[in-house]
């Protein structure tokens, strides 16, 4: 796609605005068509809400390559032994059978913004009135010297759940006594800000039982990280002496890995490691780039309806979008999906569009029954999704409060899974 064409599409949209949508609908002699790409917390939720609330007035197609979806949230708990991998898996059967969503297990590989069609690897061409992209993340090439996706078998990222999670856990279980688990933590912004540090907690929990003399080494390019005080308090309490984090002041941003030799160099110091969990810098899932709606690594969107700033007929949800203050999390994507569904349904069927409102809460588990959380509410401004109010667990909370927080997180998992898949 050329820059000229992009500019042209942009200006055409600006000129006709939302009025174009009903005209297209009329011209298609059928139900309005929404194509959703990506069946995670954003995509599954928006597909379900559109289908559920439109009483058959909207034809919803969901394109998702995997038949069984593994949630990234709670995959750290699988590493720690608190969940089975099976308990994180969800099928799309309910969305198809209960809500009449056309679930297509295929890869979306092209978007023609003029013709308003999506093409798939399987050779389908799907027309849309509105396209909703919720493709999650991909990794920035060359972000960690020595690592590319071909090395993910030796040095897993496990930042897309499923086989990568199983591989990482098997590697940790196979570590020699007294061995080293290393993590290369990602720079901001990235999926699930507390995720790497919850993962360290869960790996420490596992190692404490099966390999108590093992070490954990974190190379971190960031000065500070989410829930830092809570994690560091927990690491001191539960895993004293096990975890070493090297921040940017000591070269944590200057790393290189060698997947063959199993080494991690931090600021030139070569460490032999037994497991190397490389979580590279992230960007929007590739289809956003293919559609030509990214700026830098992410797809900028308008806060009120998650519509792309470059194409009013495309919306982008979840980790892939640049929206403002919300962290990239499953909860955020689920929250954005409901606002987007309400707005898209309004445009396509004339239903009432209520003002956007968003929320997020991230729970993390530090050790058995030691749960913490951070959350906030958000609103749409002209500029961005802006934080309104928030809270965070406090250091030194009682064991009862921490256990209640963990139990609440288990309830939340069931809640959001039901909200995504029915």
């Amino acid at each position: 796609m050329t820059l000229n064409r992009r500019a042209f599409v942009g200006s055409a949209v600006a000129a006709t605005g939302v009025l174009a949508a009903p005209m297209v609908m009329g011209a298609s002699h059928g139900r309005a068509k929404v194509v959703v790409v990506g069946g995670g917390a954003g995509g599954a939720t928006v597909a379900r809400y559109l289908a559920k609330d439109s009483n058959g007035e909207i034809d919803v197609t969901l394109i998702e390559p995997t038949r069984q979806y593994y949630t990234c949230f709670f995959s750290n708990l699988y590493l720690g032994g608190f969940r089975t991998i099976e308990s994180l898996g969800h099928s799309y059967g309910g969305l198809a059978a209960q809500y009449g969503i056309n679930v297509v297990h295929d890869w979306a590989i092209g978007v023609d913004r003029d013709a308003k069609t999506v093409s798939t690897a399987g050779g389908y061409m799907l027309p849309y009135d509105r396209l909703i992209l919720s493709p999650g993340i991909d990794f920035v090439e060359g972000a960690v010297a020595g690592w590319d996706v071909a090395a993910q078998n030796k040095m897993p990222h496990a930042y897309k759940a499923g086989s990568q999670s199983e591989l990482l856990k098997a590697q940790i279980e196979a570590m020699p006594q007294g061995g080293t688990y290393a993590m290369v933590a990602p720079p901001n912004p990235f999926r699930c800000p507390p995720g790497p540090y919850e993962r360290v907690s869960m790996v420490a929990h596992l190692l404490k039982q099966i390999n108590p003399t093992a070490k954990i080494l974190i190379a971190d390019p960031k000065e500070a990280f989410s829930k830092q005080g809570l994690f560091e308090e927990g690491w001191n309490t539960h895993y004293a002496g096990m975890i070493e984090r090297i921040g940017p002041d000591f070269g944590g941003a200057n790393v290189e890995v060698d997947p063959e030799a199993m080494t991690l160099s931090i600021d030139g110091d070569v460490n032999n490691v037994d497991v190397c969990n490389v979580i590279p810098a992230m960007k929007a899932g590739r289809i956003a780039d293919i559609a030509g709606i990214t700026e830098g690594n992410w797809a900028p969107v308008n806060a009120a309806d998650l519509s792309s700033k470059m194409d009013a007929n495309i919306h982008v949800l979840g980790d892939a979008c640049a929206q403002g203050d919300m962290p990239k999390s499953g909860f955020s994507a689920n929250s954005q999906a409901k606002v987007c569904a309400n707005a898209v349904r309004g445009v396509l069927t004339g239903s009432t569009v209520f003002p956007a409102r968003f929320a997020n809460t991230c729970w993390s588990l530090i050790d058995t029954n030691d749960g913490v959380k951070v959350g906030a509410t958000y609103e749409a401004t002209d500029e961005k999704i802006a934080k309104v109010d928030g809270f965070i667990s406090e250091t030194g909370e009682s064991a009862q409060v921490r256990q209640a927080t963990f139990e609440e997180s288990v309830g939340w998992y069931d809640g959001i899974a039901a909200d995504m898949f029915g």
Binding site: P189, G375, E383, W412, D414, G415, I416
Partner: protein, 235 residues
């Protein structure tokens, strides 16, 4: 944050809603970088910034005043910090407008920036070097001026269940519409009166759960009623 209520009120009172819009637009950080030249004789910011004549300014938003490690502050600024001065949009805005008006014995020898746009741009530049909510969710959105009081609507009793259904999306990320309860309680089919009473108990901090307090506090009385009407009869 307990920072400087008197100053906050003045700012809000003078410019009202415009403060919000302008602050959210966030100023122009590029122009702010130019403004910063007049500060750079004393202050460093960015990668590798160190204390010099003045303290380094990384992470200035969101922290208590007089907190740059290893910097010897004036007694005046230390006292202000002890009294609760913390740096956010409003307090920094007041400080750089006229440092001595905010902290009478500060050693910051700067006449101040009388122009609001100049201050907005400078603060937008400085805000880049502090934690952002999207990266560290517990960070306060300190780049924006906080507009506190919206006059409370009093009792719109009859809830609109259609609106309630939309609002319920905020509940169903955790609470299940099926009524299943496991770690998180069921909220379906409560008599509306009980539902409204419980939500107001969170709004007023009588019930203590922090997530629920946060969710309830942003709901108007009308919205609480709408949710109650929807959940009362949900199937």
């Amino acid at each position: 944050m307990t920072s400087w209520p008197a100053i906050t009120c003045t700012v809000v009172a003078l410019v009202g809603g415009a403060t919000m819009a302008r602050a959210e637009a966030g100023g122009d950080p590029d122009r702010g970088a130019e403004m910063f030249r007049q500060c750079a004789g004393c202050h460093q910011v960015g990668s590798g910034a160190k204390n010099a004549i003045g303290p380094q300014l990384n992470g200035i938003f969101d922290r208590s005043a007089a907190r740059a490690e290893g910097f010897a502050y004036s007694d005046g600024l230390v006292r202000a910090a002890t009294n609760g001065l913390a740096w956010d949009f409003d307090s920094l805005d007041a400080y750089i407008e006229n440092p001595r008006a905010l902290v009478s014995q500060t050693r910051m020898n700067f006449r101040g920036l009388p122009n609001q746009q100049d201050r907005d741009d400078l603060l937008a530049f400085l805000r880049i070097y502090s934690a952002s909510p999207s990266d560290i969710p517990e960070s306060a959105p300190t780049a924006q001026a906080v507009d506190h009081e919206v006059a409370p609507e009093i009792l719109a009793i009859v809830g609109d269940p259609t609106y309630g259904e939309y609002l319920s999306g905020e509940c169903t990320s955790c609470h299940q519409t099926s009524g299943a309860a496991n770690g998180i309680p069921s909220i379906t089919n409560w008599p509306a009166e009980y539902f409204v009473t419980a939500m107001h108990a969170y709004k007023d901090d009588v019930r203590t759960h922090p997530v629920m307090q946060m969710m309830a506090k942003r709901l108007s009385n009308e919205e609480v009623a709408a949710l109650a009407a929807y959940f009362e009869d949900v199937e």
